[in-house]
């Protein structure tokens, strides 16, 4: 129990020491690098946390995560159910989905900006495009793993298609959908920062570029820490949601 807490702390501490050593060595080469050091970063982080700016960027980024995830769910779950239920649809779309899934969403960026204009829309598109695949594929896997007797039970009750979907299939695949959501959140969080580096004027990705332009390297490092911490918390939240559903 104590070890469970101590070992991760030891790992983090070792990383901080390596970080300090690396920054110190780099500062010998380029003096500007001293701004990357843990202490300077810590000071910058404290200031940022006490100000309002950072929180506005965080809030905007989290909103984009939510919108992107929502769009991915609205598209991914029905498509996944269709893929799981219809062998024909599955065969027709599997190569396409596997193909599209392997394209880095960021490569769509120029086209997305051209079609959707600058602003939030292309960011939503990129996030949803990145997140839809794990949700779609996990939903389809969940449908394929449904207990056939549940479907037989629904048929023996002369359930309509709608009743079967709402009362048996959707609750039956919720655990799988939540697994997809967890993976999707991880991907969204990774795609978010570069997606926010183009065409928007707020958000964590924008903040990184802005810090670079201001030559505020300590702020930049602090933003990186914030991005990591928030990602960790998001993943943790998604995990515990999954666990709670399974407990029921």
């Amino acid at each position: 129990m104590v070890l469970n807490l101590l070992l991760p702390l030891a790992g983090l501490l070792a990383a901080a020491l390596l970080w300090a050593a690396g920054a110190g060595w780099l500062a010998g080469v380029t003096p500007v690098a001293s701004a990357f050091a843990p202490l300077a970063t810590g000071e910058a982080l404290l200031q940022l946390v006490h100000g309002r700016d950072l929180w506005e960027h965080v809030w905007l980024s989290l909103q984009r995560v939510a919108v992107g995830l929502l769009i991915a769910l609205v598209l991914g779950v029905p498509l996944g159910v269709l893929t799981g239920l219809s062998a024909g649809f599955s065969r027709a779309t599997t190569p396409l989905f596997q193909f599209a899934r392997m394209i880095s969403p960021l490569s769509w960026m120029p086209i997305a900006v051209m079609v959707l204009g600058v602003g939030d829309a292309p960011v939503y598109f990129l996030l949803a495009f990145a997140a839809v695949w794990p949700i779609l594929l996990n939903t389809a896997a969940g449908v394929a793993q449904l207990d056939p007797n549940w479907l037989l039970l629904a048929r023996s009750l002369s359930a309509t298609r709608r009743e079967t979907i709402l009362r048996v299939i959707l609750p039956g695949i919720t655990a799988h959908i939540l697994t997809g959501v967890r993976l999707a959140i991880g991907i969204i969080w990774i795609v978010l920062v570069p997606a926010e580096m183009l065409g928007v004027s707020a958000g964590l990705g924008y903040f990184i570029l802005d810090a670079r332009d201001r030559l505020a390297y300590s702020d930049l490092m602090a933003a990186i820490l914030v991005i990591g911490a928030l990602g960790y918390l998001l993943d943790h939240a998604a995990r515990s949601l999954h666990r709670r559903w399974l407990h029921a």
């Binding site: 007797n149 549940w150 037989l152 009750l157 002369s158 309509t160 039956g172």
Partner: protein, 266 residues
């Protein structure tokens, strides 16, 4: 409790109109694989417990699905309460080998699951609750309404599956090897429970089983299925009161007769 009053089991022959289910000259084939059964005619009277006995793979489950309206026969007709059957009848219910409870629903909601679908006779809140309570009480699970399926033992889960079927107050209960996944002691308890509750509910039962002793202990009539394609080869009436273990000699004689017929058919 809105369970019907206790009635004696009715073994006397009934007129044809007393049949809850009547099947005539049924056959069924899987496309490209072959005929599973053919020339099957049978009828089940109200409140009668009929065992469909046969070795694994002889087509019992397939026949049950056709009789329950879950699959359409290639030839022949199924009539339920004197009307042609095209889809599962609202006054029928199913129990499978696996309890197949829905793990996201509490026990009470699992038992009431068969009561609120568009094609079912609707029952409002109070009536629904009463049915669920009566069914849970009958299978000995009163007080466990709030439990989740993951918290039930295998035997308890199968009791819950039986309660889910009883809550529909079925005229005919289809059971496909409902106890074959249970240990011997639990199985014996469940067999006695089944006889007890279907008598109280005035339900008929079609029990699919490959266990001769189960058929002997539970059924009023035993249909032996076998051959390829499958047919109903023979039938026996078990004219003994429950509990049957009080009549070992009669059971043994019948058992030998059935074993002989089984050997003859294979």
């Amino acid at each position: 409790m809105n369970a019907p009053a206790v009635a004696p089991s009715v073994l006397a022959p009934a007129p044809a109109s007393e049949a809850v289910l009547a099947a005539r000259d049924l056959s069924f084939a899987h496309p490209g694989i072959g005929t599973v059964f053919e020339g099957v005619s049978l009828s089940i009277r109200r409140r009668e417990i009929v065992a469909l006995l046969g070795s694994s793979g002889c087509g019992k489950s397939t026949l049950l699905r056709v009789l329950a309206g879950l699959a359409q026969p290639a030839h022949g007709e199924v009539r339920f309460l004197d009307a042609p059957l095209a889809e599962p009848h609202p006054r029928s219910a199913l129990v499978f080998q696996q309890p197949s409870l829905l793990p996201w629903l509490k026990l009470a909601d699992n038992v009431g699951f068969g009561l609120d679908f568009a094609h079912q006779p609707r029952s409002d809140g109070a009536a629904r609750q009463a049915r669920v309570a009566a069914a849970l009480e009958a299978v000995g699970l009163a007080g466990r309404e709030a439990a989740y399926p993951a918290q039930l033992s295998g035997g308890m889960a199968q009791r819950a599956a039986l309660a889910r079927a009883l809550a529909r107050e079925p005229e005919l209960l289809f059971a496909d090897e409902p106890f074959s996944a249970l240990d011997a002691i639990t199985r014996a308890e469940m067999q006695a429970l089944l006889v007890d509750v279907v008598h109280r509910w005035h339900s008929a039962v079609l029990l699919v089983t490959h266990d001769i002793d189960e058929a002997l202990l539970v059924a009023d009539r035993i249909l032996l299925m076998g051959g390829s394609p499958g047919r109903v080869l023979r039938e026996w009436t078990v004219d003994l009161p429950h509990p049957r273990d009080a009549h070992p000699e009669a059971l043994t004689a019948l058992r030998l007769a059935i074993l002989g017929a089984l050997r003859h058919s294979s």
